[in-house]
Subunit: 235 residues, 2 copies
Amino acid sequence: MSVIMYERVGFEGRRPSPFSWRIRYALAHKGIEVEYRPTRFADVDIIKKLSGQHFVPIIVDGPKVVHDSWHIAAYLDQRFSDKPTLLGDDAGRNLNHFVNHWSDTVLSPTVRRLIYPDFIWCLAPEDRDYFRRSREKMLGQTLEAAGADRPRWQADFDAACLPLERHLGEQRFIAGAEPRYGDYIVFSVFQWARLGSPHEVVKPDTALAQWRARMIALFDGLGDRFPAYPLPQRG
Amino acid sequence: MSVIMYERVGFEGRRPSPFSWRIRYALAHKGIEVEYRPTRFADVDIIKKLSGQHFVPIIVDGPKVVHDSWHIAAYLDQRFSDKPTLLGDDAGRNLNHFVNHWSDTVLSPTVRRLIYPDFIWCLAPEDRDYFRRSREKMLGQTLEAAGADRPRWQADFDAACLPLERHLGEQRFIAGAEPRYGDYIVFSVFQWARLGSPHEVVKPDTALAQWRARMIALFDGLGDRFPAYPLPQRG
C-alpha cells in the first residue's frame, strides 16, 4: 500500500509550493511509493475534512493523517526507519529543526518579496484571488508594493544566504557528501523562487548555484519534472 | 598529561573572546583536564611562533597544535571519542558546521555593532590601541560611529535571532534535551555581548533569555566564572 500525498497544484500542472517540494524530495530520499493528489487553494474543504486544518502537504498512510512538513518528515523517518535516514540521531533531528526554523523565519520571509509580484501567474486561475487577498492582508500592502524595491530585497536575501554560500563552498551538500532533509528544506525555498517567478535570485558561479544545480538533478532530475514559470504569456 | 589552551585575557582577568568561550565549554563538555594560558593581543609573537598564525584559541595536545575554534572542536571530538560527543555523526557535524557559519556570517557581524563602542574597556590597557586600529580599519569607521544607531542594530540583531527564539521555545537546548557544540557556538556570541558591553541585548522573558541562563549555569556556572563588564569606572 502506497502513501498518499496531497499537494498544491498550480497553473497547468505547475508545482510552486515550497513545503510540498521538501516532502517530495523526502519521499524520493526514502524511496517510498507515493500516490500524489494535486489540490488547489479552492479545494480547502477536502483538506479541512481530512486533516482538521487547511494547509498542504498532507500525508495519508493507511489510517494515519499527518500535516505540517516538519512533522511529515519526522513521521516518515520513524515510520520508514529501515530506509536511508532524513534527520539522523536525536541531536541531528534537532539541528535539522533549527535549519527548518531558520528557513521559515529568515530565508522565506526575505525571498518572498522577490517572488510575490509574479507568483500569482503560476497558480490556477481560480486560486489567484484568494492568494492575493490572503497575502496582501498578511503583508499590509499589495503584492506589487511588497516587491517594488527589488534591489533592497535582493540585498537582504544575499545577506541571508551568506552562511549557505560559505558552507557550500566547503562541501557538496548541507548535510555533507550526501543530501539529507536539511538540504531539502533549504532547496524548497530556492525551488519556490525558481518556479514561482521569472527572476533569477541566485548569482551564477557561486557555491549556492552549483549546489542548487546538484539538488535539481537528484532523483533523475526531480527538480525539473514540472513546467517552469509561465512566461511569456502570463496565465 | 593535560591539554593546554591559549586564550585571550582582558582587563583584570576578564575573558571577552567568543571563540575561547566555545572551546572552554567544549572542553568542559568533554570533561578534559586543561591548563589555560592567558594571552593578550600584545603576545602575538608567542602565538605566531606556536601556530603559524595569530588567532587564539589554540590547543596544544602533546606534539599536536590546533588553531581555529571549529577545527579545535572537531579535533577534540575525534581525539576524545570515548567522552560525550560534541558534534554527533557525520551529518550532525556538518549541520553544526552550518550553525558555525551562520553564527560567524550573520549573528556576530550583527551583534558586534552593539558591542564595539564599549568593548575596548574590557581589554587589557596595552591591547586597546591595537583593537581600535584593526577593527576601525575593517569597519571603515570609528567604533563609536559603527555602533551609533543602536536601535537599528538591535532591530537587526532581534531579526537575526528569530530562528533561535522559535527553536528554543520548543526545546531546552539547540541540540535538544542536552547541549552540544551548536549550543556552545551560539552561546559564545551572547557571552561576548554580555561580558564585553554594559548593554543587555536579549529581551527578558524570552525563550532565548531562559536558554542563556541555562547555558551560563552549565558546568557549575562556567559562564559566570570571570569578572563582568568593568563599570562604573571604565578601565
